[in-house]
Amino acid sequence: MQPGDELPELKVTPDRYLTVRYAGASGDFNPIHIDDDFARQVGLPGKILHGLWMMAQVARAQTEAAGGPHALKRLDVQFRGVGLPEREITVTSTVQEVRDGIAVVHTVAEQDGKAIIRNAEARLEVG
């Protein structure tokens, strides 16, 4: 990995029931993620993706590029906007610097052309 390198893009389209499975897997049953009617009542377009599931996609883009889960030492993200089921998400990642065996990677997750995770920085053990 060298500064300026793009890591392989990750594309994923969460299906209609993904948020239900993720709620069970993670223990986060906030109804904004699993109940369309409730979500609309609080002003959302419908049930929204869990932020931490979206962050897990950013994490997966890093571990797949870096050769496994051990490589991800740190991940820092800001959540922006809402992510919705049944629409493709694209995670892009660019290496900023490599020093002392650690690559600093800037990464972003977009859906419908809008950043849903931005200002994200990963630190990956490399080499």
């Binding site: 993720y22 897997a25 609080v42 932020g51 962050m55 994490a59 997966r60 889960p69 993200v77």
Partner: protein, 148 residues
Amino acid sequence: MATQAETAAIGKTYPPLTYAVGREKIREYAVAVGETNPLHLDVDAAREAGHRDVVAPPMFCVVYCGPALGPALFDPELGIDFARLVHGGQRFEWGPLVVAGDEITTTVSVKEVSSRGPLGFFTFESRSVNQDGDTVCVGTWTNIVRGA
């Protein structure tokens, strides 16, 4: 404005909670987030790679931290209004990998309470330690409460 009671909570630490990491829970989580690396799904593959059992994906930390965060999020002293709660940001730093069979003890503390205009910020820190005393994950959880 953060109230005096809220600000006084900075540094408050909640009781540690221990989470026993199960093989099927790792698989369930790995499938839900789309992991395909056999280290997370296949015991034989994990053992061939030198691990005792299937390996938790790094973001599995949300599962073992979850029970320890509840008392902070629901702390009446902080009085977080869930109807207005937004997850603003998240940072994790990871140590050694977590595998099925580990027992992870997480301690949560209040790191920051502040306000900026109509927004209230509640930041928690989680520190998770395995049964050997290694710190496996430190999390910084930034929650934003939108004003009325």
